[in-house]
């Protein structure tokens, strides 16, 4: 596929599909239920990572894995790297993408902030799925303050 237009369109169709379905089941619109978008991302990521890590040496540790997610993995999917990765070295990682692909299309600033969550859920899923398959059990959430910048919070579950 020469370019990722198809992926973009597919992604926004997924968002539409899930939201329409929510409506049809009249879930409350206030705190939108994005579970299904996230899960579609999850199973995509879970399978994707199986393919991507085929040729790769074994990861040394969690941090190395995260770095991989931020660099090679991210640029494979979003054609750019995560701009900033922070961690407290206790299983919390914050990935910041200053121009997150699915938000760049929305006009930046605050006006579309309310709909932003729809466009980050899939990616949260991708991250969670990939890490899950790499045996890092975690919770992934996202926060958008001013678009198109987005922060992804990864919380590793130590159990």
């Amino acid at each position: 596929m020469s370019d990722d237009a198809l992926f973009d369109f597919l992604h926004s169709e997924i968002v539409n599909y899930v939201l329409e379905r929510n409506q049809s089941q009249n879930k409350d619109a206030k705190d939108e239920d994005l579970s299904n978008i996230e899960y579609i991302g999850f199973s995509t990521g879970y399978r994707m990572i199986e393919r991507l890590t085929k040729e790769m040496p074994r990861f040394k540790d969690e941090l190395e894995t995260m770095k991989f997610i931020c660099t090679d993995f991210w640029s494979a999917i979003y054609k750019k790297q995560i701009d900033n990765l922070r961690t407290n070295h206790q299983g919390v990682y914050v990935l910041q993408d200053n121009a997150f692909k699915f938000l760049t299309r929305l006009s930046s600033g605050k006006q579309y902030l309310e709909v932003a969550p729809r466009y980050v859920s899939f990616t949260c899923g991708i991250i969670r799925g990939s890490l899950a398959n790499l045996n890092i059990n975690c919770l992934v959430t996202a926060e958008v303050q001013n678009m198109p910048s987005c922060k992804f919070h990864i919380q590793v579950q130590r159990t």
Partner: protein, 1109 residues
């Protein structure tokens, strides 16, 4: 003379040094020299950029003989004298010139002839006393020798002070000599080694040529190895042996492909000896068998490894090595008596293990345990094999052939006795092959060691698998319990890792084991598991199924077997519409089971336990669990948390100013833990349980839908607990269901209500009330009666006809559940009390309950006495109390004939609305002056609430006392003399006139002027006492007081009050003690008539011209 580290060195590879010249000189220092040489290490520089190594080199000395001289370029120089020393102690130059020089010259010529360049001339100097005082000669012999023979290489000539004498001075020169020899020797030795290496290389190149022979080559390269070993380069020596190892393997692997490798044929002769490895010092026979060759090679490698402290590597190389050997035996098709190879392998592994123990350093145990574990296992396997072969296995008896085999094998092992306290592997094996019990002991010992070591290094699975072998061994030993224990562990491991097929197999073995052990309970259990394992062949499954059912019948006490894989709960559904179920109604549950049993199972009973929920739990769990109406397989099988769907929601954060600060997503999901699937069985007991509707239940293979139900006969909250299938005394019991499905059983008690029909109850009137009886969740016994008891003054009755009573009983009668019926209760309360009680006793209520009824009278009355001089009036006013106004008529006032009464408005009838007051007036026609006995007055009136209700009387009783007028009081205000008007601010006169109308006991009374302050100012006294002697009645006493009006207009006169005045002294006749103060006593309303009431005086404003008054 021997080197330092020659353990097991077969050939002494130390270089030979020849000694020429004055040998006696040499012999005096030979020993010192031989020892000194290897003491210090010396740098060995080699060609081809190989690393510089520090080596120790020793030497053997032989007298010089020209015939023994080798050619300086021979490849095997290593075996020849390769360094040559000329010794002399001549110090006299003249003697040197005369004889010595020629001798040395000859020696050197011979060396050169063989182009040998490695030589040294040593001049030993002996100092003794007589020489010391002499001056040293200008040139010494040494100088001469140098000049003559070694003008360029000065280091070829050296002088040394004889160490035998004067140690101190000689030490340095001695050290010099030794290191010189060491150095030069090494240089020449290095050359020799290099040549040898070249030669070896050449030989290897020719390895594919016809006639090339491995053994020859072997010896050649080993020589190199030995040299390196001698130099203490064990690692490099090892490399040589490894190369040989690899080369041999290569050849054998390729097999005899061409005649170039005919030499391999040498090895193909049948095996005669299987001595094991013979670790440690060993030598190789000229024509070794492949095993011997291999053994020797390994022994050598082992030795090098031990010398370099690599015990673990020796161990690690062992198993692969043994595998290679067996494989090569196979490839070379070497014939060997049965068991021979096994013996050899056993011995080999045991020897290695023993050596490991010997060299066991605490810090290395870990490392080599990694490799010994599998060796122990291997040894045990080999032994077991031999046991089978020689009929040593438990339960068996060796046949004569087998005994023969044993003899043969023992012979082939050779003798290798160990010290008494620790028998050698050979000893062990021999006795094991002879005595069955020793065999058993040894085998179990080895297996235990294998398991132990495996566990130690954390290879649990491997340990368990050894355990499997052991289990079967114990089986044949008839020790089924032990066997079962091992199999149990094995099974657990398989199940933990989820290896169903292996688990199934183990169940099979366990079943056999329990059968032998006669443990019916466990046997049934494993039969069930086997027969429900799809991995196992159907015929087998059937037989075990039958076995199970057969034994189930013979059970004498009940047995519970967990569901596990035998039966699976697919889904559970509560069929009732609500989770709240009324007492005495049926709970219906649909249960879908999947039976993995191969045949139909007939269950006499199927039930599902109900677990009562502790209240504290319900409070919180209500929300969480009880919503669920059904469990599906999804809920039942533990999900992989890694694949969980999460609840993801949008999350918007607003600032104070309601502006959207950030938007994101959050997960409402909290724990990602894996919920433990293992639940204890038979925890709940089946006291309250749902039961299958159709029994016996035929549980067929595959899916089964089962309807369970139970009459809810106890209130409370229950979880659906466990499922149990009963087959005779055998019960298959499921794990406890996740506490998601709860049923709540409730009951509703009947109730009895007593309801007013009207907002207020009125006493004195019969009214209707409602008794409402509501039957609860289950009907009441029709015979049961309800009893009402009333408090005093209250009476009631059901039904119009029967008379009112104070107690009342009535039967409930047949009433369906939840029906409610209404009874009309007539009530009548007298007017005495406002509050009345009804006590209700119902059979379902523990104790009777009292209901309070508040009644209000229909109307209230009040009375007043009015006077005019001597005439008297009574006013009775009625106030209505019921919302619908009541009508009154026939008001009567009965004064008990004290006097006549004249009703003013009594005759007519009146409507008195609620809260309104209506008054009746009567004049008491009494004679003035007559005394006034108390009048017992009774007011009566008849009222009715509305037209159709009949009239009832209302009575009101009151007493009238002191109603005769005793005093007439009058007052007037007059302007001061000379003015005809009262003016504001001008003093006027208040004239009081008090007249006594009849003689009375009171002699004196007091008057008080109670003037309105804002209107009147009383000047001077405001009160006084007037006395009456009772002589002249009706003649008033007058008093004048000064008062001043403060306002203009028609003013009411100041109010004057008179009271009885009882002087102080006059008191004692009343009470016993004297009264020091005078007292006032008020008159009762009727006794004083004040005529000035209502009088007014016109007061005008003061005159404008201030003319005095």
């Amino acid at each position: 003379m021997n080197g330092t580290i020659d353990i097991g060195l077969v050939v002494d590879r130390r270089p030979l040094i020849t000694c020429a010249g004055e040998l006696e000189v040499f012999s005096s220092i030979e020993d010192n020299l031989a020892q000194a040489l290897p003491q210090d290490s010396c740098e060995w520089r080699r060609s081809m950029g190989r690393p510089i190594r520090n080596v120790h080199i020793g030497a053997n000395f032989t007298p010089y003989s020209s015939k023994a001289l080798p050619k300086g370029t021979q490849w095997d120089l290593i075996r020849q004298p390769l360094f040559h020393i000329y010794w002399t102690e001549c110090t006299d130059v003249d003697i040197y010139k005369s004889t010595l020089r020629d001798d040395i010259d000859g020696w050197l010529k011979e060396l050169n002839a063989k182009d040998i360049t490695d030589w040294l001339v040593v001049v030993v100097e002996n100092y003794d006393g007589k020489r010391t005082n002499k001056l040293l000669p200008r040139t010494t012999v040494l100088d001469k020798i140098r000049a003559d023979f070694a003008p360029k290489q000065g280091d070829r000539c050296i002088s040394v002070i004889n160490p035998g004498k004067l140690e101190s001075r000689s030490a340095d020169s001695w050290r010099g000599l030794v290191s010189r020899i060491r150095h030069l020797l090494l240089v020449s030795y290095a050359k020799a080694v290099a040549r040898l290496e070249d030669y070896v290389r050449q030989q290897r190149e020719r390895r594919n040529e016809i006639g090339w022979n491995f053994m020859q080559y072997f010896q050649l390269q080993e020589e190199l190895a030995q040299v390196l070993e001698m130099l203490g380069l064990n690692d490099e020596a090892l490399v040589q042996y490894d190369e040989l190892d690899a080369l041999l393997s290569q050849f054998v692997a390729n097999g005899i492909t061409s005649e170039c490798v005919n030499w391999l044929g040498e090895f193909q002769k049948p095996l005669e000896r299987w001595h094991g490895l013979k670790l440690g010092p060993s030598s190789l026979s000229k024509t070794p068998s492949i095993l011997e060759l291999r053994a020797y090679l390994y022994a050598k490698q082992a030795q090098m490894l031990l010398l370099t402290n690599k015990v673990w590597e020796m161990a690690s190389r062992c198993l692969p090595f043994l595998h290679t050997c067996t494989r090569e035996l196979a490839i070379l098709e070497i014939k060997a008596p049965p068991g021979a190879v096994a013996c050899w392998l056993f011995l080999a592994s045991m020897e290695v293990l023993q050596t490991c123990d010997k060299f066991n350093h605490a810090d290395e145990v870990e490392e080599y345990s990694l490799h010994t574990a599998c060796l122990w296992e291997y040894a045990s396997q080999k032994l077991k094999y031999l046991g089978d072969l020689c009929g040593l296995m438990p339960g068996g008896e060796p046949t004569s052939d087998q005994l023969h085999t044993v003899v043969g094998l023992s012979a082939g092992m050779g003798d290798n006795p160990g010290p008494a306290n620790s028998p050698s592997p050979t000893d062990k094996l021999k006795s094991a092959l002879i005595h069955q019990d020793v065999f058993n002991k040894t085998y179990l010992e080895l297996a235990e060691l294998a398991m132990g070591t495996y566990k130690h290094i954390g290879r649990l699975r491997s340990a368990r698998l050894v355990g499997r072998e052991v289990a079967s061994f114990y089986m044949s030993l008839g020790q089924h319990q032990k066997s079962a224990a091992f199999l149990g562990d094995l099974l657990r491991t398989f199940e933990q890792d989820g290896w169903q097929e292996l688990a199934a197999q183990t169940h099979l073995e366990l079943a056999e084991c329990y059968k032998k052990a006669g443990d019916v309970g466990k046997l049934i259990r494993s039969c069930a598991s086997v027969s429900s394992a799809h991995e196992i062949d159907n015929i087998i499954r059937w037989t075990y199924f039958d076995e199970m059912t057969r034994h189930a019948e013979s059970l004498d006490k009940s047995l519970a077997v967990p569901f596990e894989n035998i039966v699976k709960i697919v889904s559970v559904n509560v069929l009732n519409d609500e989770n709240v179920i009324m007492l005495d109604t049926k709970v219906h549950v649909e249960l879908v089971l999947e039976s993995n049993l191969p045949r139909e199972l007939v269950c006499e009973k199927v039930d599902m336990s109900l677990e009562a929920v502790e209240n504290k739990e319900t409070s919180k769990s209500n929300e969480k669990y009880c919503k669920g109406r059904s469990l599906s397989s999804k809920d039942l099988k533990p999900r992989d948390p890694m694949l969980q769907r999460l609840k993801i929601q949008r999350n918007l954060d607003y600032k104070q100013d309601k502006q959207l600060a950030s938007a994101g997503i959050v997960s409402k999901f909290t724990e990602l833990r894996r919920k433990d699937s293992t639940q204890q069985v038979c925890s709940s007991e089946f006291a309250h349980a749902l039961e299958a509707n159709k029994l016996p239940l035929r549980l067929s293979p595959g899916l089964n839908v089962i309807r369970l139900s139970k009459l809810a006969d106890e209130t409370g909250k229950f979880y659906l607990g466990q499922v149990a299938l009963h087959v005779g005394k055998l019960a298959f019991v499921s794990a406890t269901l996740p506490h998601r499905l709860a049923i709540e059983v409730k009951e509703e008690k009947p109730t009895l209500q007593l309801n007013k029909r009207t907002p207020t109850l009125i006493s004195g009137v019969e009214q209707l009330m409602n008794i409402i009886l509501t039957v609860g969740s289950h009907p009441i016994d029709p015979k049961s009666t309800i009893k009402l008891t009333s408090s005093r003054g209250l009476s009631f009755q059901i039904g119009a006809d029967r008379p009112l009573a104070t107690t009342l009983e009535f039967e409930v009668g047949a009433k369906p559940a939840y029906s409610s019926s209404r009874y009309a209760l007539r009530v009548l309360a007298d007017m005495l009390g406002k509050e009345h009680h009804v006590t209700v006793a119902a059979p379902w209520a523990a104790k009777p309950t009292a209901v309070t009824l508040n009644f209000t009278p229909p109307l209230t009355a009040a009375w007043r006495l009015h006077s005019a001089r001597h005439r008297k009036w009574v006013q009775v006013s009625l106030t209505g109390q019921c919302e619908q106004g009541l009508t009154v008529r026939e008001a009567k006032l009965d004064v008990a004939g004290v006097c006549e009464v004249d009703g003013k408005n009594a005759s007519s009838s009146h409507l008195i609305p609620n809260g309104m007051t209506f008054s009746f007036m009567w004049e008491l026609l009494i004679k003035p002056g007559a005394d006034s006995p108390t009048i017992k007055a009774e007011f009566s009136v008849s009222y009715k609430l509305d037209e159709d209700s009949e009239e009832r009387p209302y009575r009101y009783f009151f007493d009238i006392n002191d109603y005769q007028t005793l005093y007439l009081l009058d007052a007037d205000v007059e302007p001061a003399k000379g003015s005809e008007f009262c003016r504001v601010g001008a003093v006027c006169q208040l004239r009081l006139a008090i007249a006594q109308t009849r003689a009375s006991r009171e002699r004196s009374l007091m008057y008080e002027v109670l003037a309105e302050q804002s209107v009147w100012a009383v000047c001077g006294r405001t009160a006084g006492v007037v006395g009456f002697d009772g002589s002249e009645l009706e003649r008033p006493q007058t008093v004048a007081l000064d008062v001043m009006p403060l306002a203009s207009g028609h003013l009411p006169l100041p109010l004057v009050r008179i009271s009885k005045y009882i002087p102080a002294e006059a008191g004692n006749d009343k009470h016993g003690k004297g009264d020091t103060h005078p007292r006032l006593e008020p008159f009762s309303p009727g006794q004083v008539y004040n005529a000035s009431k209502g009088k007014q005086i016109h007061v005008i404003t003061p005159v404008s011209d201030g003319h005095p008054t």
